[in-house]
């Protein structure tokens, strides 16, 4: 029996799970994830973290504790510094393994692989070998596993581009089938970090809620890269956070292209990067004045009622603008 690697179902899980899973499985390990976010997980995270930590990170810590309780051999907590040249992620990702190790006691062994493409991918090779060696002593096999995992990532991303959310795409890969109804007549861009909108507990299933109200939802992961790049090229100064730049890029693209009825941005309470990008986007949409824009903030106290009311009001506004309803 292979060793069990636990992957917390939070933060970048939503962007890279199929890839990470493939890598470890190719090396002969067994991969499990933590349970779906629930009250206990959030509470555990909140209790372990200092107050001001953002909700996504608190939740992540809760998932780590869940894995610890499940008795896995390893927990995968990568230090994701950068996933493309010259751009970073938010500071928290850079210190995530340190953060967790200092907050949670008696952890199983942490695999804190450093993922850093900031200067090109030479440093990655060393990291991959270092991590692979935990499982097999065979560089070729490790490298092959890495290549397979990259292929999987490409597949995963292409499924999302068909209009599936991250979670649906993961399901599609694991179960080879999913049925998603994509027949709304409103087009809404949902601009946010994946972990803010994909966790059904944290964001109360916002995507399905919107779909049930008759909207087709577009997230940054569903959009073609070149659309995002086109939008981002309108920035006066390139933004140095990958996901923040995706959000701004998509937002700017829709202003020019107008192929959307409304834009909703979601961010975690107190999120540093989002506080700036959100402000820039909102300014742009106000100046343009053609497409309605709404921003939602979530934290551990966000209530379902509040979210529903605001979404319904927004949808009504869009329908009214289309002349579908009169008030």
């Amino acid at each position: 029996m292979g060793k069990i690697v636990g992957i917390p179902k939070a933060l970048l899980y939503y962007n890279f799970y199929p890839m990470w899973k493939t890598f470890f499985e190719e090396l002969g390990a067994e991969v499990i994830t933590s349970s779906n976010t629930c009250k206990k997980i959030v509470d555990d995270g909140v209790k372990s973290c200092v107050d001001e930590t953002c909700l996504p990170v608190k939740t992540f810590v809760g998932h780590v504790i869940d894995l610890k309780e499940k008795g896995v051999d390893y927990i995968f907590i990568p230090r994701v510094v950068s996933i493309e040249k010259r751009r970073y992620l938010c500071s928290k990702f850079l210190g995530l393994p340190d953060l967790v190790k200092n907050l949670v006691t008696d952890l199983p062994e942490i695999i804190d692989m450093k993922i850093d493409y900031y200067r090109g991918d030479d440093t990655m090779k060393k990291e991959i070998l270092k991590v692979g060696k935990i499982f097999v002593n065979n560089s070729k096999k490790i490298y092959d596993a890495y290549l397979k995992s990259i292929e999987m990532q490409k597949k995963f991303e292409s499924i999302m581009r068909k209009g599936l959310s991250n979670t649906e795409a993961i399901k599609a890969i694991e179960e080879n089938s999913v049925d998603v109804k994509l027949n709304g007549n409103l087009k809404i861009a949902l601009l946010a970090h994946s972990y803010d909108i994909m966790d059904d507990y944290i964001c109360m299933g916002i995507i399905d809620r919107l779909r049930n109200m008759g909207a087709n939802v577009f997230t940054t992961c569903m959009l073609d890269r070149d659309k995002i790049e086109l939008g981002a090229s309108k920035l006066q100064k390139d933004l140095f956070w990958t996901y923040g730049r995706d959000i701004l890029g998509a937002g700017k693209y829709f202003i020019e292209n107008r192929d959307i009825d409304g834009v909703i941005s979601v961010s975690a309470f107190g999120c540093g990067p989002d506080s700036l990008t959100d402000d820039l986007l909102e300014r742009d949409y106000k100046r343009d004045g053609k497409i309605p824009y709404m921003s939602l903030t979530i934290d551990e106290h966000t209530g379902e009622a509040g979210i529903t009311t605001r979404l319904e009001a927004f949808i009504d506004l869009l329908r009214w603008r289309k002349g579908e309803i009169t008030i």
Partner: protein, 358 residues
């Protein structure tokens, strides 16, 4: 051209000296007051951090005073400071101001390249001249920072509360207007002397605290409600772990300060995470090992690198048996609550010290 810039500790002194040295008119932003802050808050995103809001307030007040060009630092992440300027610029445009904004990315390597960059914005000024005034400006800053270092120790021993602060303020003002190096040295020495004369209180139990945290909060007393003064007046000697002059000297001579930080932080935080997160962790270890009695971390509410650091230094506190207190500030921070927390912290340190002596 009427140039302005944000306040940040002794930055005003150096920029004013430098620009006036190359004959560029400067509109000093009015001193930071609660009015500055409330203007900034009014036009800033809710979750932008305190320095952002104060900066914006500085800009608006200076533009109202007639400035037409703003100089602001930029950055390349991962801390959001690097994008402040962009958002502030759009805000000021929406508010209807007519101005030019120069956003300078911080020196990656050599200061000289930075100055050349800068002089590119001011045709007709030779960077060699700029360099000369710049050096004098830096000398002023070093003098001012050193005077403050003395202040933060000696004010804890002042004979009459409040007098030292007045002396200090008078001499800093003197440094600001010094015409040449000789005058500068003279004022500096006299300032130190005057502060010493008023510092004769000795205590059996003398507490020493190191201040760590985010650099703006550390440098700009308004933003931290003058925590150093409050601590000094409680009889505590304070060491601020960051000064603008240290930062400049380190980057000018490319000192491997980062390596030193990495060594201290090892085992707790293994890499730079942007902002001053690594410095905060490293300095906590460093001053714990220097047998300080306590550490206080100060940072703006929602500052991501500092929140990571806060989580980590709590662990260091236990490991190294040194009390650590973290204080985050935003516009809603009330003075009364903070004073109570400082006093409680002092009591804790005193008790700990007495127990250790037993």
């Amino acid at each position: 051209m009427k140039i302005t810039y944000p306040h940040m500790g002794s930055l005003n002194m150096i920029l004013k000296t430098m620009f006036e040295g190359i004959n560029i008119e400067v509109v000093e932003p009015p001193p930071v007051t609660s009015k500055t802050l409330s203007i900034g808050v009014k036009y800033s995103p809710e979750f932008a951090c305190l320095p952002y809001k104060i900066n914006l307030g500085n800009f608006i007040e200076a533009l109202e005073k007639g400035a037409d060009t703003i100089i602001m630092l930029g950055g390349v992440g991962p801390c959001r400071f690097g994008y402040y300027g962009q958002v502030q610029k759009e805000t000021l445009i929406d508010l209807g101001y007519d101005f030019k904004m120069i956003i300078l990315d911080p020196p990656h390597g050599r200061l000289i390249d930075f100055l050349k960059d800068l002089s590119g914005y001011f045709p007709g000024v030779y960077w060699k001249d700029a360099l000369k005034t710049f050096i004098f400006a830096v000398q002023k800053m070093i003098a001012a920072d050193n005077l403050e270092k003395h202040l933060l120790i000696l004010r804890a021993h002042e004979d009459k509360i409040g007098v030292t602060t007045k002396i200090y303020e008078k001499y800093v003002e003197g440094l600001k207007y010094a015409k040449n190096k000789k005058e500068l040295d003279y004022i500096y020495r006299e300032g130190v002397e005057k502060i010493k004369q008023n510092a004769n209180v000795k205590r059996d139990i003398q507490l020493k605290v190191a201040l760590v945290g985010e650099i703006y909060l550390m440098l700009e007393p308004f933003s931290n409600m003058d925590i150093c003064k409050s601590l000094n007046e409680l009889g505590i000697e304070v060491t601020k772990t960051d000064y603008l002059s240290d930062y400049l000297i380190n980057s000018a001579f490319k000192l491997p300060q980062k390596l030193e930080f990495k060594r201290y932080a090892h085992g707790y935080l293994e890499r730079d995470i942007g902002g001053h997160g690594l410095n905060t962790v490293a300095n906590t270890v460093k001053y714990a090992e220097k047998n300080y009695d306590g550490i206080i971390q100060i940072f703006p509410f929602t500052c991501t690198p500092e929140i990571v650091a806060e989580s980590i230094i709590a662990k260091i506190s236990g490991d190294k048996n040194i009390p650590v207190m973290s204080l985050s500030y935003d516009e809603k921070t009330g003075e009364a609550g903070y004073q109570t927390r400082l006093e409680a912290f002092k009591d804790l340190l005193e008790r700990q010290k007495i127990n250790a002596l037993k």
